[in-house]
């Protein structure tokens, strides 16, 4: 039986971690994800989980300890944000390259400088090429649900890759909303027992992990990693189907909102989608056919599915809460635009950089985006390929 609660995104993630009950959790708390570890450490202190909580001296050590524990054969979770994940950088690639199923609760926050503790996506989008699967969450419910599903995805024999579950710092992590918790035993049954593929502590099957891998094998192992990312997409879909059977809450590769009959569309991840849906309702009432695609996945990037969902549109604006300084546009925009390139009649696709450092995406910003889309759809021309919004000009 589901339990209905009013809680924050951080508490929801901590509660999911409690229910997952990992063997090891190594972390170095950082704003805005601090509360995840604060609450999880209470569960450890109260003895409601069996987790070995490793308190380390930095995030680099946190991810290193997670890697060691996962290599030993344990189920491992951690939580971090922004500069914390940046300090893990070297180890992120090692976790993925060693094919260790580690799950990270990532509370999205801007990277310094200037120093800022509020939301943007420069942390996770920066880790795009690290080999981690990335699941994005609009609200606390999705953050909770994604974290539970992440365990299954990560540990699947076809995948064996680490997964980060992203939610927006403060906007979601510290806001209280209504959501539903599963029972502990439902979660335990859903994730099942962990069977490591190679475990250093399995003395009957001795293995060497992390050995030198030069010109004659490195690329073979990277080819395997690429394949695992490819195979992750159907696994993510299958896990979501099972999750829906248990909860009634449907997840896929993305969520659409009034997209099927839309002429113009917006693409945006995480909490911004909530605001955009509200404004779409306004425009729909005026008879303007606008829709939304909210990616759940950025890595792997399910190109075909996105093209199928967006290909019929006349114009698209992709919102990036991160800048790739000096690039043509934001990273999500570039990838969506490239994905649509092979269509015989492709939508005009532009990008906006918004909300850096926690700047709110307000009603007027969404209206500006939609009004412009309507103009582009009519004329087939755009003014600027990518511009900053939510900024004082």
């Amino acid at each position: 039986m589901a339990k209905i609660v009013a809680t924050t995104g951080n508490s929801a993630m901590a509660y999911a971690m409690k229910q997952i009950n990992p063997d090891v959790c190594a972390a170095y708390p950082i704003t805005p994800s601090t509360q995840v570890m604060e609450e999880f450490s209470k569960y450890v202190a109260d003895g409601v989980v069996n987790t070995n909580l490793v308190t380390v001296e930095s995030e680099h050590s946190a991810m290193s300890a997670c890697i060691g524990a996962a290599a030993a054969g344990g189920r491992v979770l951690t939580a971090t944000s922004a500069n914390g994940m940046a300090l893990m950088w070297e180890m992120l690639y090692i976790a993925a390259g060693m094919r260790l199923p580690i799950v990270m609760a990532l509370v999205n926050r801007a990277l310094s400088a200037p120093i800022n503790i509020h939301c943007d996506h420069s942390d996770s989008f920066g880790a795009r090429d690290s080999g981690w699967i990335q699941l994005y969450s609009e609200n606390a419910q999705e953050a909770y649900d994604n974290l539970i599903q992440a365990v299954r995805i990560s540990e699947h024999p076809d995948v064996r890759l680490p997964v980060m579950v992203c939610q927006d710092g403060f906007i979601i992590s510290h806001s209280i909303e209504r959501m539903e918790y599963l029972e502990d035993d439902e979660v335990r049954k859903f994730i099942g027992d962990y069977k490591p593929m190679y475990a250093l502590l399995d003395i009957d099957k001795p293995v060497t992990l992390g050995s030198l891998d030069l010109q004659d094998y490195y690329i073979e192992h990277k080819r395997q990693e690429a394949e695992a990312m490819k195979l992750a997409t159907p696994v993510i879909t299958a896990v979501a189907k099972d999750f829906e059977k248990m909860t009634g809450r449907a997840y896929g590769l993305f969520e659409t909102y009034h997209l099927d009959d839309a002429e113009v569309g917006i693409v945006a991840v995480n909490s911004a989608a909530g605001t955009i849906k509200e404004i779409i309702d306004q425009y729909r009432r005026k008879g303007i056919k606008v829709g939304l695609l909210k990616p759940r996945l950025y890595r792997p990037f399910p190109t075909e599915a996105y093209v199928k969902a967006l290909g019929h549109l006349k114009a698209i604006t992709v919102l990036d809460r991160v800048d790739s300084f000096g690039a043509m546009a934001g990273p999500l925009m570039l990838e969506v635009r490239a994905a649509l390139y092979d269509l015989p009649k492709r939508p005009v696709t532009i990008g906006k950089i918004y909300g850096l450092g926690g700047r709110d995406l307000e009603e007027s910003h969404c209206q500006y985006v939609i009004d412009e889309l309507v103009q582009i759809a009519a004329s087939g021309k755009y003014r600027e390929l990518c511009e900053y919004i939510t900024v004082r000009e």
Binding site: M98, R99, V207, T208, L209, S211, Y217, I219, H221
Partner: protein
């Protein structure tokens, strides 16, 4: 040389799941000079066996029996540490 495997054949993530698999890689081919052991001069002090950075000095019941050329890379340490008055190992160029 042993056959290099394709990406579908090797364990994921660079795991080495067969203990002692380095045996398959016969690194003796790297050698430029080979140690030649003279059984008549050898006093079986085992200094070469102790110092060999590989495991390329063969022994049986505490006595040297020869050099394992499958893995000896010809570093010459064995010849160097062989006592001055014995010099049972000499380095000779590989042909």
């Amino acid at each position: 040389m042993f056959k290099l495997k394709n990406w579908k054949e090797v364990p994921i993530g660079g795991a080495v799941d067969q203990p002692g698999s380095a045996m398959e890689n016969k690194t003796g081919s790297w050698r430029v000079e080979r140690p030649v052991w003279n059984s008549e001069k050898c006093i079986h002090c085992l200094r070469c066996w102790v110092y060999c950075p590989d495991m390329s000095v063969n022994t049986l019941d505490g006595k040297i029996t020869g050099i394992n050329y499958d893995y000896c890379k010809g570093c010459g340490i064995c010849a160097q540490v062989c006592p001055e008055k014995v010099k049972a190992i000499t380095m000779q160029p590989e042909q």
